[in-house]
Symmetry: C2
């Protein structure tokens, strides 16, 4: 038991009050996410009284917890991360074009009419990260590992950039094929196909699996080295240097980190929340 503090101490907390608009990121696990500090910073820097907090929801609770969260009247929006990006779609009354193409969202925003709009920002963020580094995707031969939520968005966004080829691999072959079919349908002329997890004839390697996250020492594909001309991207944000990126750096490859992808999409998501 501690003695009560003076009132003036409490008044020093300026970042949350009864009027603060609430946002959340829903995921499992949750500790590794960066959205709380990144999106909160973006919102407050624009003058919004808002905070985005972590919401750790187990997969078996997702379908009952999310609709309840959406009933909170001061909730402005939710961000979804692994493993919920596909399932979250069900809660959007209205979907953005890219989200509609791949059936995946990573954000829900409350519309002016009170309904919930869903859209996906990972892919946009990945492409922007390459653009800002001056690394072209057009004309390159890319291999994407992982056809889940983030992988789907990246496939759709990268396919739109006009790569020479985009090979998609997933341990679940049917999931990879389904993604290829969806993106091909939504992007006429896209050179996208299911591919093998090999670096032969590949210029750009994109990891969109959770392999390598947190303390996971594994690589998302079985290689012992990477040709130095290959650009290696990893969608994982924690750790910043995943085992894959560490290997790529040892091999002299150019790397693009998950945090760079996040940066680009943060601004677009806050546009979406307050648009």
């Amino acid at each position: 038991m501690q003695a009560p503090r003076a009132m003036s101490d409490y008044d020093q907390i300026a970042y949350v009050s009864g009027k603060t608009r609430l946002f959340g990121i829903v995921g499992h696990p949750i500790e590794q996410v960066r959205s709380p500090e990144m999106i909160t910073a973006e919102m407050t820097s624009r003058g919004h009284d808002a905070v985005l907090v972590p919401m750790h929801v187990l997969p078996e609770d997702f379908d009952t917890v999310v609709p309840a969260l959406l009933r909170m009247r001061n909730l402005g929006g939710l961000v979804f991360t692994i493993p919920f990006k596909a399932r979250a779609c069900a809660f959007a009354g209205e979907l953005g074009a890219q989200a509609r193409a791949i059936g995946v969202i990573n954000a829900l925003a409350r519309g002016a009419d009170g309904g919930w709009r869903g859209d996906i920002f990972d892919g946009i963020g990945c492409v922007e990260a390459f653009r800002r580094r001056g690394i072209p995707l057009a004309g390159r031969r890319a291999l994407l590992i992982g056809a889940g939520g983030a992988g789907s968005a990246i496939a759709a966004a990268v396919a739109s950039e006009g790569p020479a080829s985009l090979a998609v691999h997933d341990v679940d072959a049917a999931r990879a094929q389904a993604l290829v079919d969806k993106v091909a349908r939504a992007t006429p002329g896209a050179r996208i196909a299911v591919g093998k997890p090999t670096l032969e004839g590949i210029d750009v390697l994109l990891n969109a699996t959770p392999v390598g996250m947190l303390d996971d020492p594994r690589l998302p594909l079985a290689v012992e080295s990477i040709p130095p001309g290959v650009v290696v991207f990893d969608a994982i944000v924690k750790p910043e240097r995943t085992p894959l990126l560490a290997l790529a750096q040892r091999c002299g490859c150019t790397i693009v980190q998950g945090r760079e992808m996040m940066r680009g999409q943060i601004a677009r998501m806050v546009d979406f929340f307050y648009g």
Copy 2:
């Protein structure tokens, strides 16, 4: 659309991350609550990585939203305010002694076993506010207006202080009688009874109704003046000077504010959340 910010800007937000433990205050309305800044300040000053956010839940959504909130794995506890202090009881697997007596809680904490413990802290806070001002309740004749959630807790706590009498009034006479019966049963020897909303023969007036909250200009009882010897307490925290307290000050009465009650209970609630 704004340009993406540099990563270093995002890292300046130090008060929320994926590891932050989540707490909420559930109420309707919600904008007037002070728990977000007060309890967050108390938790962070003790070194906890935690934030308490406002959660605006409509009465018709309460029974579906609260159980869902409790399923969030990183939720450490909830605070309940008007109009939910009685209904919240249903979600506690285990109740503190005072909460059990009056069937009302204002906090749920996750126990070591994962179950939810409920307890009520308003009454403790009210009594502590009087103690710290050096105003005795023992031997005084008190009138309590309002037998809802806060009123019940205050009745139980004040009755334990040994007043000469404690009269309880509520616009719902049956509710006042039920509270009197509950406190009498839990506090043998307590001189508590249903009373009229009059200041005749009263030393201490306690308002535990929401009348006078925010922009409500009304008084919780029909008086035009208050004898200067009466000590007047108001449980409302916003505004700090309710119409009742303003009248009391004009009449030369000693006043005790809702914020003083909150101060005492904040420390005890954080003990409870992290106990």
